[in-house]
């Protein structure tokens, strides 16, 4: 779930743009550099962006019977590295907003921060850590994708809690409420995304 268009108060929406911009600018510089060194990589990056978009549109069956979607950012971060994912993720979120009305333009900064920055960095850090500790590829990919997914939705909950603190219990109370809706329910989906990512990586390493 992306934060819908217009849901955040204007000041906070602007603040999230300010937080996300340095990451996206840094990612863009990295991308420009990469394309300059190797013009063919432009096509590969386009393919990676399209892959991420389509991956996040796959329908995962969920416990409740309804369908949900993976974030795709964990797998993306492992495959393409976080700085590039901040740009590709930004492009994908822009397309989701304009083509599907999922998310929005005023909330683009907030959604980029949770999905294209925190999610990929957490996933990549978890992946790198487990690999360095000698963990297997499967375990590392599973943990990276699942925790990346979960981190994304924890950030979304925190963003909403900051915007709408509980009148009685403040930010913490609000975090409990939004976390209950967007993060706790996400745990089975995060596990699903982890399993799916492992299956995909297995398939890809065998090819």
């Amino acid at each position: 779930m992306h934060i819908a268009e217009g849901y955040l108060p204007p000041i906070q929406a602007a603040a999230w743009f300010a937080v996300s911009t340095p990451f996206v600018v840094h990612g863009s510089r990295a991308l420009v550099q990469q394309v300059r060194q190797d013009p063919e990589s432009k096509l590969l990056l386009g393919a990676a962006g399209a892959f991420t978009f389509v991956l996040s549109a796959l329908k995962i069956p969920s416990v409740t019977g309804s369908c949900s979607h993976p974030t795709g950012t964990g797998l993306g971060a492992v495959l393409f590295r976080p700085p590039v994912m901040s740009v590709l993720g930004g492009i994908v979120l822009l397309f989701q907003a304009v083509l599907l009305a999922h998310g929005g333009l005023s909330t683009l900064g907030a959604n980029i921060f949770s999905m294209a920055i925190v999610g990929p960095w957490v996933a990549y850090a978890v992946y790198a850590l487990i690999r360095r500790l000698g963990g297997g590829l499967d375990v590392a990919v599973f943990a990276a994708a699942a925790l990346g997914d979960l981190a994304t939705y924890c950030v979304t909950s925190a963003q909403l809690a900051l915007a709408f603190p509980d009148p009685a219990t403040g930010f913490v109370g609000a975090l409990v409420k939004f976390g209950g809706i967007f993060a706790v329910t996400q745990i089975p989906l995060a596990v699903s995304e982890g399993l799916l990512s492992v299956l995909v990586v297995r398939l890809l390493t065998r090819v």
Partner: protein
């Protein structure tokens, strides 16, 4: 494939300069988000809705279907605004939250309508190359344009793969469904990168050496459209100001 994209490419405003449509719809969006929800968001949302089904001639069915997912988000995330958590786990309805909830949901629905006005009238292929003039590096807009082109190929592939898997009972149980999903993701990954490789050769034959520069159709901004859009925005701001400040007079 995406109803909003099809509407943007086939509607009566398709050949208008994207700048005009951006001024109008994103201007309304800014009003909806920044102005006090009552009556700023209401007026902006109403104006966008009238423009959508009126001059832009977007089918209401398309608008409503596109709005379903974001409205679901608005509905679920508004619940916490009217509920208070008391430690350890006791929930009470918080009537004081109704005001915030109504403001937030109203602002969001209005802003969503403005976003739909932009989405359903403005083809992305017209927007992306023009972003360069706003300072976005060419490499980024070109990657975005390639992503846009390729995602339609991949969405079609994933549909076909899914259908083929369903035909062979790939979604019979949870276990088979996961295997099928991984197969889809794997197939799409392989497909995406083989597409990129083949496109690379196809473009090399057309003389590609690093730049994907193209000629963007010159479109003239229509002064009447710009003036009318500006006028509408000023009117909304003025009416909102009058309503908000008015009672003090």
């Amino acid at each position: 494939m995406f109803a909003l994209d099809v509407a943007a490419h086939t509607g009566p405003w398709r050949s208008r300069h994207p700048g005009e449509k951006a001024l109008l719809s994103l201007g309304l969006l800014a009003c909806a988000v920044i102005l006090p929800p009552w009556p700023g968001a209401l007026l902006s949302g109403l104006a966008a809705a009238v423009l959508l089904v009126g001059p832009a001639r977007v089918s209401p069915a398309v608008v409503l279907r596109a709005a379903r997912v974001p409205l679901l988000f608005v509905a679920t995330s508004t619940v916490p605004l009217v509920v208070t958590v008391h430690a350890p786990i006791r929930l009470t309805v918080n009537t004081a939250g109704f005001g915030t909830a109504a403001h937030t949901a109203g602002r969001s629905v209005a802003a969503l309508t403005c976003l739909l006005l932009f989405s359903a009238t403005t083809p992305l292929s017209e927007v992306l190359p023009r972003l360069q003039r706003l300072g976005v590096p060419a490499a980024v807009t070109e990657v975005a344009a390639l992503t846009y082109r390729m995602l339609f190929l991949l969405v079609e592939s994933v549909r076909a793969v899914r259908e083929a898997q369903a035909a062979r009972l790939g979604f019979r149980t949870w276990r088979t469904a996961y295997r099928s999903l991984a197969g889809q993701a794997g197939a799409i990954f392989v497909r995406a990168f083989s597409r990129a490789r083949r496109l690379e050769e196809g473009l090399a034959l057309r003389g590609y050496t690093g730049s994907l520069a193209v000629q963007v159709e010159a479109r003239r901004m229509s002064p009447p459209f710009l003036v009318a859009s500006g006028g509408l925005l000023v009117l909304i701001v003025a009416v909102t100001a009058a309503v908000v400040v008015g009672p003090q007079w």
